[in-house]
């Protein structure tokens, strides 16, 4: 099979997938494979780096180069890998614990540097591999093995953090909305810079139903809004709700109650809007934003600048190794 006509299937490795039946990760793997097809690189020029966690088994199931590394450090490892070979299409697959707890520092700085990585953070708001402890994205009062009386840490909003860091691509998907996750992975794969993709997933064993509020067949769509660039921000089971401006922020309103011109239109290049959208939560009276929330292709990735700088120094100084070794005060015996 010529690597130029690859399909999603070609990215499946022969290894047996060992996630629990019904796990949200299956749908996400499917979306990531679509992203890889879209990126158009042959399989031997794709590398996946993962940390530790259920989601981090991901590389084993992919017919690419794969590195299953250590807990929390995938972003740093992938940054080195990408700089070392910029021709590679490098993906990081991580979870909420791996990214925002033990790996928070690397997650932050990889985004800040805008390393050209495709970063998928699967968020199930629980530690699954260690059998059910709360994570930094767990909700207040959530019951877990280490919070038998309820979580009393406030949850973190990883995408809002990303916006604060000057992220250049910020998107959120949901395991049950497979088409949307695919769209996100395809756009993320093509984005030149750090692509921050948070995908909510269900953990059937330790946090089953954690996203029911969003996925419920009857009412779920009242709690999520899928944003698309240039389109009015309308949501709800019958598209009955919309977002309108409210001072410096936004509020939800009934479409019927507002003038059509007052309904906000999504602009994926508007960072202020992105910051607001990434902070919206159903329990704050606003729908959870899904889709491509922010995308900016104008900011140069770190890895591009590494080599631009090398070229500039070569042009300016252009020393050879022998010349460097012979610099300073030298003398001949």
């Amino acid at each position: 099979m010529a690597d130029t006509q690859l399909t999603k299937k070609d990215f499946a490795s022969p290894n047996e997938v060992k996630w629990c039946p019904g796990c949200g990760d299956f749908a996400i793997m499917n979306a990531v494979r679509s992203g890889m097809v879209a990126a158009g690189k042959p399989r031997d020029e794709v590398a996946i780096v993962s940390g530790i966690g259920c989601s981090s088994r991901f590389p084993y199931y992919m017919e690419t180069y794969g590195f299953h590394t250590i807990h929390g450090r995938a972003a740093a490892i992938a940054s080195g890998l990408k700089v070392a070979n910029t021709d590679l299409d490098v993906w990081v697959i991580s979870g909420d614990g791996d990214s925002t707890a033990i790996g928070g520092n690397h997650f932050i700085h990889a985004i800040r540097r805008n390393v050209n990585l495709n970063y998928v953070m699967i968020n199930n708001k629980i530690y699954g591999l260690t059998k059910g402890q709360y994570s930094p994205t767990s909700e207040m009062n959530q019951i877990s093995k280490t919070s038998p009386y309820g979580v009393i840490d406030y949850p973190m909003a990883p995408l809002k953090v990303a916006m604060g860091l000057g992220a250049t691509f910020v998107a959120r998907g949901l395991d049950k909305k497979m088409k949307l996750s695919e769209e996100i992975c395809i756009r993320g794969a093509k984005h030149h810079g750090f692509s921050m993709m948070e995908i909510y997933a269900n953990c059937v064993i330790y946090n089953d139903g954690c996203h029911n509020q969003l996925t419920d067949k009857e009412t779920g769509d009242n709690n999520v809004i899928i944003v698309r660039d240039g389109e009015k921000m309308i949501f709800g089971t019958d598209n009955q709700f919309c977002l309108v401006q409210d001072g410096f922020t936004v509020k939800a309103a009934k479409v019927a109650d507002v003038a059509e011109a007052d309904i906000l239109v999504h602009d994926e290049k508007n960072a202020d809007m992105g910051t607001i959208l990434t902070g919206m939560r159903p329990d704050g009276g606003l729908p959870l934003a899904l889709g491509i929330i922010y995308a900016d292709d104008t900011k140069k990735p770190y890895d591009d600048m590494v080599f631009e700088q090398i070229d500039a120094v070569k042009a300016k100084r252009g020393r050879t190794m022998d010349q460097i070794m012979q610099e300073g005060h030298t003398w001949t015996v």
Binding site: Y65, S79, G80, A84, D87, N105, I108, Q326, H329
Partner: protein, 622 residues
């Protein structure tokens, strides 16, 4: 002209500079080091500064120092007790006079001995006048007065003029040690003159005047009865430069990358006393050295592991606490079996410990500081110049064996300097044969298996991302030969043994240790790393005195060299001087079941030769 200043020939002179931190002690020390080296002496130096950048001026805590030894023969250390102390203020004199050799010279700036300054360091009366420095040859020079006089015609604030006292002092020393003054004038021109990168013409002129005033002062006053003349040392022919261990390691990293045909890569995080390495290496963009200053120590090694996985020649640089943070990721490089060099410039520990002071207390951390059975080769550089070779060798072994390798240097050799015979790139070993990436075209009909091994080195077959058709998965879980995850007990037993055997096997190709002195004797003194100089100097002197003593130096501290056991068996007693509580001693006892005696020193300061000599004499019952 001071007619009675006679020129005495000397074999070696130990000079120590002390003054306020931030007062240019390292600079003046480095200048005299360069001056002596350029003049043909062999030199070894040791900076000694407090961890505060600008500790309160005039206090003992703020004293920064720089010691050097210059000689007409091979010099292995920065010397024992100084022959000459240049102490620029009362704090410096109070701090350092006690180290000076009996009858040694103390040069000081008498203008700085104000009542307030004396009070600050608890002098009740002026030591220059009250006879408390009686045992020394004190040269109290009113430096500020003389410098201001010399610069009377220049429009500069007095504070700026006073700063020229360092070059005034260089003038005095240049005269005292009979050095070529033009070298200093050239240096001033290079640093501040019209042709320098950032010309500061007024400073150039002021320093030149101050320097000449110092020269004249030496020549025309009757203060000095003696001058020293050191002959040129017998040194191997070649091009030399004075170099610190940190700079030498930085050069080796770039050189090894080029000789391997791989992009050199450093993932790091600043930490004292290893930062200078990263500073210098960051300048080498024109020879393709990528440096990533990451968000922490862990990210430093992690991005290096990532770069190694992609086929760069990867390094991470650190000091003790940083190595502690890198522990898990070092284990990752080990189980992934990718080449990685970890340069650890050791400092006083535990924890934050003594950041600016030297120690050798990370040996056991390097050996055992990882979870699981996780052996990796350890090489210890034995001098500032040797940091180049040790780092280069480490890169070679890392590539050849697909393993992380730890290079141990320390604050003393990392920041200390000595002349380095500059190799040409053509002379350095070609490392390309050790790269040997697995490519399908070299193995027709074979399927790639990521943990299939070379039968001799046990290095695994290694295909890097981008290799056509070789996509595969590796990870930090235990695995079988194909790279597939395996929890099979037999597989884990086999892989653990194999990873250990790979490192053990390295011993067979390491050069044997050479004995300094008789092959069989009463006492064997074993040095490693930074203790090499003091032990070599001490053993040489003991042998000269006819004592039944020999010495060896361990460059590879793990695995031990192949002939070590045999050598040890031929001595009655083994002595290991170490800047720790006996870490190599522990390893030697465990490996060879011999009663090793440990000479421990943990004072943030390297061994002096006499300390080793005294201990040997004690063991000999003398």
């Amino acid at each position: 002209m001071a007619e009675n200043a006679k020129l005495t020939s000397a074999e070696q002179i130990v000079v120590k500079f002390t003054g306020d931190s931030g007062d240019g002690m390292q600079l003046i020390g480095n200048q005299l080091t360069a001056l002596a080296a350029l003049d043909g002496n062999d030199v070894n130096s040791l900076p000694d500064y407090p961890s505060e950048i600008r500790a309160p001026a005039g206090t003992i805590a703020g004293v920064s120092g720089f010691q050097m030894c210059l000689g007409d023969h091979k010099i292995y250390t920065a010397g024992d007790a100084p022959d000459v102390l240049v102490g620029f203020n009362p704090a410096a004199v109070k701090h350092s006079a006690k180290f000076v050799k009996a009858g040694g010279m103390i040069i000081t700036n008498s203008d700085s001995f104000t009542e307030k300054a004396l009070e600050k360091v608890g002098y009740e009366s002026n030591p220059l006048e009250d006879g408390s420095l009686k045992g020394y040859d004190v040269k109290a020079i009113p430096m500020f007065t003389l410098v201001r006089e010399a610069l009377a015609d220049m429009e500069m604030p007095n504070a700026a003029k006073d700063r020229c006292k360092n070059f005034f002092t260089m003038g005095v020393l240049c005269w005292l040690f009979n050095k070529e003054k033009q070298l200093v004038l050239d240096f001033i021109e290079e640093k501040f003159g019209a042709s320098s990168k950032k010309p500061k013409l007024q400073i150039a002129e002021a320093n030149t005047k101050a320097f000449k005033a110092g020269l004249n002062y030496g020549e025309t006053t009757v203060m000095f009865q003696e001058r020293y003349d050191l002959g040129a040392a017998q040194i191997e022919k070649g091009l030399y430069r004075n170099i610190t261990g940190n700079d030498a390691a930085a050069l080796a990293i770039a050189a090894a990358g080029e000789k391997a045909g791989l992009q050199p890569f450093i993932g790091s995080y600043p930490i004292t006393p290893a930062t200078d390495l990263l500073h210098y290496a960051s300048e080498f963009k024109d020879v393709d050295l990528v440096t990533m200053q990451m968000e922490d120590e862990i990210a430093g090694i992690c991005c290096a592991v990532g770069a190694a996985c992609a086929g760069n020649l990867a390094f991470t640089t650190t000091s003790g606490p940083g190595l502690a943070l890198k522990t898990e990721a070092a284990g990752m490089a080990l189980i992934l079996e990718v080449p990685l060099v970890i340069v650890n410039v050791q400092r006083g520990g535990p924890c934050t410990g003594l950041p600016t002071k030297t120690e050798q207390s990370d040996l056991l951390q390097s050996m055992f500081g990882r979870n699981g059975d996780s052996y990796m080769p350890i090489i210890a550089a034995n001098s500032p110049a040797d940091c180049f070779d040790a780092t280069f060798q480490a890169a070679k072994i890392a590539l050849q064996y697909r393993t992380p390798v730890i290079v141990l240097t320390d604050g003393y050799i990392g920041q200390g300097s000595c002349p380095w015979k500059v190799p040409t790139m053509a002379e350095l070993e070609d490392l390309t044969p050790y790269v040997n990436f697995w490519k399908p075209e070299d193995h027709p009909g074979e399927t790639y298996m990521s943990y299939k091994r070379d039968p001799e080195t046990l290095a695994r077959d290694w295909a890097i991302p981008g290799t056509k058709g070789c996509q595969h998965r590796i990870g930090t879980l235990e695995k079988d030969e194909t790279g597939a995850v395996s929890h099979d007990p037999a597989v884990h037993q086999y892989m653990t043994e194999t990873r250990k055997a790979k490192v053990d096997n390295l011993a067979q190709v390491l050069p044997g240790v050479e004995v300094n002195g008789k092959e069989s004797n009463k006492i064997l003194v074993i040095s490693w790393g930074g203790t090499y100089g003091a032990v070599k100097g001490a053993v040489d002197r003991l042998i000269e005195d006819g004592k039944p003593v020999s010495g060896i130096n361990l460059r590879w501290v793990w695995p031990f060299p192949p002939n070590l056991g045999e050598i040890i068996s031929k001595f009655d007693k083994i002595l290991v001087p170490e800047l720790n509580m006996g870490q190599l001693s522990l390893m030697l006892r465990a490996k060879f079941l011999v009663d090793v005696q440990s000479l421990s020193k943990v004072q943030g300061d390297p061994f002096r030769e006499y300390e080793v000599i005294d201990k040997v004499n004690e063991m000999l019952g003398e």
